[in-house]
Amino acid sequence: MTHLANYLQYLAKAEANLAEGFRKIGEAHADEVDIYHTSDTLAEQCEAHVEKLRPFCEEYGEEGTAEPDRLYHELFTETRQGGLGLLRDMQDLYLMASACDISWTMIGQAAQGLPDMELLEVVNLCEAQTATQLKWLKTRMKQAAPQALLVAS
């Protein structure tokens, strides 16, 4: 068993938590209908990532890790309300998605080192989607920030 197993577990857990995070935000801010719909789509994307990782987690062995849960519980004790609350919630999601993003990079490095071309293919696909998730969060937060920070009651 290698430490890759640990990283794969970490990422699978982090993606599952990110999916949960997207769903929570979508529901908590359902009146922002674009956030509601896009969060739902992205939650499904994260769940698909978990499925894609599963065979590799099995192949490279189980090694439990609690780290992503710590991040998740720290950030998502409860969702917030209003424009500012939305901004803070999305910022938390941004941190979680960043953790996934850099993990995909690490696993991609290992996949090349092995080499495991099947794993690399999964990494390439999912890493690009995670990068777009980050980009979407940033796009939406940039749009919302001035209104939320300057004029919202």
């Binding site: 009146d31 922002e32 209908v33 674009d34 719909h37 896009t38 789509t41 992205l42 209003g82 424009g83 777009t132 998730q133 980009k135 979407w136 940033k138 796009t139 940039k142 749009q143 920030a145 001035p146 209104q147 300057l150 004029v151 919202a152 009651s153």
Partner: protein, 823 residues
Amino acid sequence: MADRIADPWGERTPFGREEEWPVRVDQFLEDGVSEDEVDDWIQTASILHSNGDALDIAVKNGRIVGVRGRAVDRVNRGRVDPKDLYGWQANNSEDRLTKPLVRKNGDLVEASWDEAFDLIVEKSKKLLEEKGPLAFGFYTTGQLFIEEYYTLGVIGKAGLGTPHMDGNTRLCTATAAAALKESFGTDGQPGSYADINHADAIMHFGHNIAETSVVTWMRVLDRLEGPEPPRLIVVDPRPTPAAKRADVHLAVKPGTNMALLNAFLHEIIENGQYDEEYIESHTLGFDELKEKVAGCTPEWAAGICDVEAEDIREAARILGTTERLVTTALEGVYQSHQATASACQINNIHLVRGLIGRPGCGILQMNGQPTAQNTRECGANGDLPAFRNWDNKEHIQQLADLWNVERVKIPHWAPPTHAMQIWRYAEQGSVNFLWIQCTNPAVSLPELHRIRSILQKENLFVIVQDIFLTETAQLADVVLPAATWGEKTGTYTNADRTVHLSESGVEAPGEAKHDLDIFLEYASRMDFRDKSGEPLIKWEHPEEAFEAWKECTRGRPCDYTGITYDKLRGGSGIQWPCNEEHPDGKERLYTDDVFNTQTENCETFGHDLLTGAMNDEKDHRAIAPNGRAFLKASEYLPAREVPGEEYPFRYTTGRTIYHFHTRTKTARAPQLNDAAPDAWVELHPSDAESLGVKEGDTVRVESPRGGMEAKARISGIREGVVFAPFHYGYFDQGEAGGDSPNGRAKPRAANELTITQWDPVSKQPVFKVAAARVVKVADNTDGTPAPAPTTTASAPVGEAGGRIPATAGGRKAEAKETLGEEA
């Protein structure tokens, strides 16, 4: 004489490929007025759709008494849409607004302009001091003129400094703009109507062209009836007049356009019908496109769209083999699911086959409203003037220099706020000032009970500038009476980049003011200054405003610098770009296969089509498109709201030929109103049977958001789909209707039940896809059929349908058509 209610498209003037479209001059004059009694003919163009038909207004004793088409114009060659033949009568309507109104103790009461402006300026100054520019929102239209939009844009962006400016063009044309930007780098219609003269194949995708671009459909009809007619493909869930003439009609399930388009691309690629050399030299993204459509066989798409695989294959064969293809698209794409992605895929068909920039190879991403193109160009909506990129500092600096303000004054930290978001900010109370011009959101936006409640919010100051007391104006705090078409001078641009001048021929009624003068007065009273302390707005008249606009466009793709009012007088409209290089305008864009995707030039750095996530300059530079077009591919995804047990129908909204927008004008033209006097609901015969509904029975259509009631028309719409026209509100129904507190009229607006949802890239609301149920409310006791026209997509079917009297205008609709040489 021609009854153009009974026969909206008039007499045929067939012509063959490469020939000039024959002239036919249409004319309608008020009863009792003959041609030689007309005092004056005033040059203008249509204001009731996006086709841009050139016409002259007949004036007698200071009143409008009719119209006739301009034979000299490239767009219509003399023809006139029935909406324009009869619609001008609204100008003379008794109930025009003639004095400002202000709300006092809950009621709108007449006031002087001074009182109205004092109130607006006092409110503005106080809010600016307390909360700053982000508390201001502007919701404009697709019906003002260039001069007005540009002035409004400068006031909002460099005077107040708010990013919250958009128009109802968000509802009609945002996707066209978004897809053109994503594929080609900037907005701008690639093709020209004249491409229809050269085409071997034409596809109308989600475009009920016969009813919405009526005169261009006459051009297509004349090709179809001439020698060597083009093959015709129509994609529409309703049996539109175009669908009835099609070689292939694909009546797809609403919400599945993307699946069909991906199957088209799959077939073209699978059969090796793409232009490898063109793709290699002039596009980016072919490999990804190929991969995305790899599994999208006609059989796969047939299962999703619920049409025959053989028909998909046949349509794809036409698309894959023709050497001259014109494709048009409109709301069936733009207001549907995966709107921008689908519109990009339409661009892709032309790109992979290299069918662009040559005669007969036209992409026409259509517009809805007459001046929607200018809302997009002039910076009065969610774009910056002259297709500038909000994320390009150099572009912002150009505007700052032009307006002589600091760059930081012009909001550019994020894209200009889209309409649905502005309404959301108003709902949440962070936007407290909303100035609505010449549009009627209380009927045209989705989920009307929500819109009405926002308009009535205590902490939202609503100004409505319009020519009638619309459903929206009834809920305003201040109503400003405006002049309209025929009463003011200005220019506007149609869906194929043709710029027309519209001259003033009659006085506006009462104290109604020109829209430009209203904006100028506001700017002056607000004392907006540039950084030298001079007034920010440096023009007083339309022609001066046009000259200022021209400077703003210099060197941009929509270059107007070669156009003057004088040049537009007398002759045909002129297509931009018009400058030193193209002194008479340019028929089609991208003739050199170089697109506007250079990082320094482009209007957007691009988006992810699934989420709307934005690329930044760095991303764009890394791709180095350098003039190559983007082939943006997307997978098909099911619509967000699909039918289920409780709401088993697919609900879709649309238009009829006889009305424009929310009938503000067309309801006041008797010929048009009588042709389609009230709302209706279209049902397929088998759906009607299972509901126990017969022609003319009253049904209620409901979604989780609301319901509307109207008589049922049993029509040829596809099974499982229910359609309602979006034109009908409540202004002619007594008290405000729907579920408003004082609602006495039955709810009949189609948008009572539409969904609040929008495309991730274009932010255009989804009006074409919602789930609904239908319940019968009342039997048709008096035997009157649904008030739906029989001449159009709403034609009745079946035995009972055959007994319904055909829609006709009779003597009062008699118009004159003069063919060819005689004209």
